[in-house]
């Protein structure tokens, strides 16, 4: 197991380097001169501009910039934004918000998706199953921002059950509706995945054996069917945490949430390379680590998998 973890950690290194380099290259290629943009219409004094360029390493060749940036990340020095704030301070402010939102969305999609998917899988071909499948298809097909608008309008404006936007007031209550919107599409995927998996495992030999040796229906379903069916679902959920945090851009925009997505979107539009790369780097790391964590969870869920 330790050997396996070590090998997986080693495999993460090239992915991490490649992903950060790719992002850095893309942000580097963005048109426009961010330093000139700082000065607005009047433009900056040449000397001031040169000094700022030197301060942000913008005068050095691309690859040197990247290496300097990498050195910064490894020492947890993410640099400063163009408005002079430490990027790490900004991250400390926005990441907890997005993290809370994503965890709430993940909980919502996991609990509801697995429950509905299990019932649908056990009753494959019946009315409940057909309805659940249809609902999941519609949720996948309707873009997330349409779901957002409609919920915001109906629940927030018309019924006034929940606040319409979040703003500075980040609480469980204000984040509830955005979390449901954010997790909606993944809920549909979790539902479908659980349903297929349960329906397939119900016909497996080990389930027949369990039934044959006289176990109660609930024990067969809860222990034998569900545990085996959860393997692909857990993989999906683990990979989804990273995707949710990155995908929060749209949801955070609609509900005006001061999280990573909002900050990132603004930073991209202003060409703030250090902020963009830092935020995206952390998102990528979250994504990679979540995937590693999922692989470790496999061993717990599936006794057939042993890491030699």
């Amino acid at each position: 197991m330790a050997w396996y973890v070590g090998r997986r950690l080693l495999q993460m290194v090239p992915v991490f380097l490649g992903a950060t380099l790719l992002i850095y290259a893309m942000v580097f290629a963005l048109p426009g001169d961010p330093i000139q943009a700082l000065g607005g219409d009047r433009g900056l004094n040449e000397a001031v501009a040169a000094q700022l360029r030197a301060e942000y390493n913008l005068d050095k060749p691309f690859f040197v910039q990247y290496l300097l940036y990498l050195k910064g990340i490894l020492t947890l020095d993410f640099g400063t934004t163009f408005s002079g704030r430490e990027v790490i301070d900004v991250m400390g402010e926005v990441f907890p918000v997005t993290f809370q939102l994503s965890i709430m969305a993940l909980t919502f999609e996991a609990v509801l998706g697995i429950t509905v998917g299990l019932i649908a899988g056990l009753r494959k071909g019946k009315l409940f199953d057909a309805t659940a499948l249809l609902v999941s298809l519609v949720v996948i097909a309707v873009p997330i921002f349409v779901i957002g608008f409609v919920l915001q309008f109906v629940v927030g404006v018309k019924l006034q059950w929940l606040p319409v936007t979040v703003g500075g007031d980040v609480t469980f209550r204000t984040l509830l509706m955005p979390a449901i919107v954010l997790g909606a599409v993944s809920f549909a995927y979790v539902l479908r995945l659980t349903r297929t998996s349960v329906a397939e495992n119900l016909t497996a030999d080990f389930v027949r054996t369990a039934t044959a040796k006289g176990l109660s229906r609930s024990r067969v379903v809860n222990v034998h069917v569900l545990r085996n069916s959860l393997i692909p679902v857990v993989t999906y959920l683990g990979a989804d945490l990273g995707a949710l945090m990155a995908g929060a851009i749209v949801t955070e925009g609609i509900f005006n949430i001061p999280g990573v997505g909002n900050t990132l979107y603004r930073a991209i539009q202003q060409g703030q390379a250090p902020t963009v790369v830092s935020l995206v780097t952390v998102l990528v790391v979250v994504y990679i680590v979540a995937n590693l964590f999922v692989d470790m969870l496999y061993a717990l869920l599936d006794p057939r998998i042993r890491y030699a």
Binding site: G18, V157, I249
Partner: protein, 317 residues
């Protein structure tokens, strides 16, 4: 074994009806009958599914609308009069008017082209890149596989919409259908690559591949003629479903204001504009969103139907 025979004496004996087909007839292979290939089986099962026909009809409709929008409306989608702003449906304008006074029906009809073009072209690009990378990694293995799989991991680790937002900024002044396709294609291929790699790896050790090699087929020919056709099923299914997902991704980018420019009529941009009018007239949101959802739905349902038809395990039930 005299004992065994004697114990059976008291049991009843059953005989199967005598089959008097001559041996020659049993052994004859009917060369006229079409071979029951995977695809022939799948088609036979598909034909009986209402879901397949419904989604096929919807896809045909959307593609026709995208190709010949003028067949469905004579109203110009970009001809807008402010005096019609938020107008109710009237004769010739069945869906009413949006805030700018544009005909919603005409805009919904003309918006199909952008979505379908982005969906189809991106899927083609993604399948092209992903299938080549995945096939080489899976078939040749070893050193090729290590490098290509790590590159796939790198692109997989960057979420699609995030990458698209960053890259679309580069094309800020030059946003066309081509640039959107390019951006989604460059970051959308890892999934297809992984699936192709898995499929190729499961096929490449089959007996018929060994037979092809033994008969002297070259590596490349073996891959193209024998491995790929047998690994195609999961790629086709994933591609069909992704087509719908890419249409949603384009709409998301247009919604964020960095997808297609306003000159191109698109559902995503129209949905974004409808946000401000939602309270006064929900139908402005309903029609483009409904059209988009129906299009995506038909592609996902088609993918589902094809998957079920190709999966012998699912077919039995």
């Amino acid at each position: 074994m005299p004992d065994a025979v004697s114990t059976r004496k008291h049991q009843e004996h059953f005989f199967a009806a005598l089959d008097d087909t001559p041996l020659a007839a049993v052994d004859t292979v009917d060369e006229e009958a079409a071979p029951a290939s995977l695809w022939a089986d799948a088609w036979r099962s598909l034909r009986r599914r209402p879901l397949f026909w419904i989604s096929a009809a919807l896809i045909l409709l959307v593609v026709t609308v995208a190709a010949f929008p003028s067949l469905f409306t004579s109203v110009e989608p970009r001809f807008c009069e402010l005096r019609n702003s938020l107008g109710e449906p009237s004769a010739g304008h069945p869906f009413g008017f949006d805030r700018q006074g544009c005909d919603i029906y005409a805009r919904t009809v003309y918006g199909a082209r952008a979505s379908v073009a982005v969906g189809v072209l991106t899927t083609l690009a993604v399948v092209l890149i992903g299938a080549v990378v995945g096939a080489i990694a899976g078939f040749y293995g070893g050193w090729f596989d290590s490098v290509l799989s790590r590159i796939t991991d790198i692109f997989f680790a960057i979420p699609l919409v995030l990458a698209a937002i960053v890259v679309m900024q580069m094309f800020r002044d030059n946003k066309t259908i081509t640039t959107v396709v390019l951006v989604l294609g460059v970051f959308g291929w890892p999934q297809i690559a992984r699936i192709t790699r898995g499929a190729v790896m499961s096929v490449k050790n089959a007996d018929f591949i060994t037979a092809a090699k033994a008969l002297g087929a070259s590596r490349v020919m073996t891959l193209i003629r024998h491995v790929m056709p047998n690994a195609a099923a999961p790629i086709i299914v994933t591609a069909t479903v992704s087509l719908g997902i890419f249409i949603v991704a384009e709409a998301t980018l247009s919604f964020l204001g960095i997808g297609l420019p306003p000159q191109i009529t698109s559902w995503g941009a129209d949905i974004a504009k409808a946000q401000v009018s939602l309270r006064s007239q929900p139908s402005i949101l309903f029609y483009p969103a409904g059209a988009l959802a129906l299009t995506v739905l038909s592609f996902i349902m088609m993918g589902d139907a094809v998957r079920d038809a190709l999966d012998p395990k699912a077919r039995k039930r």
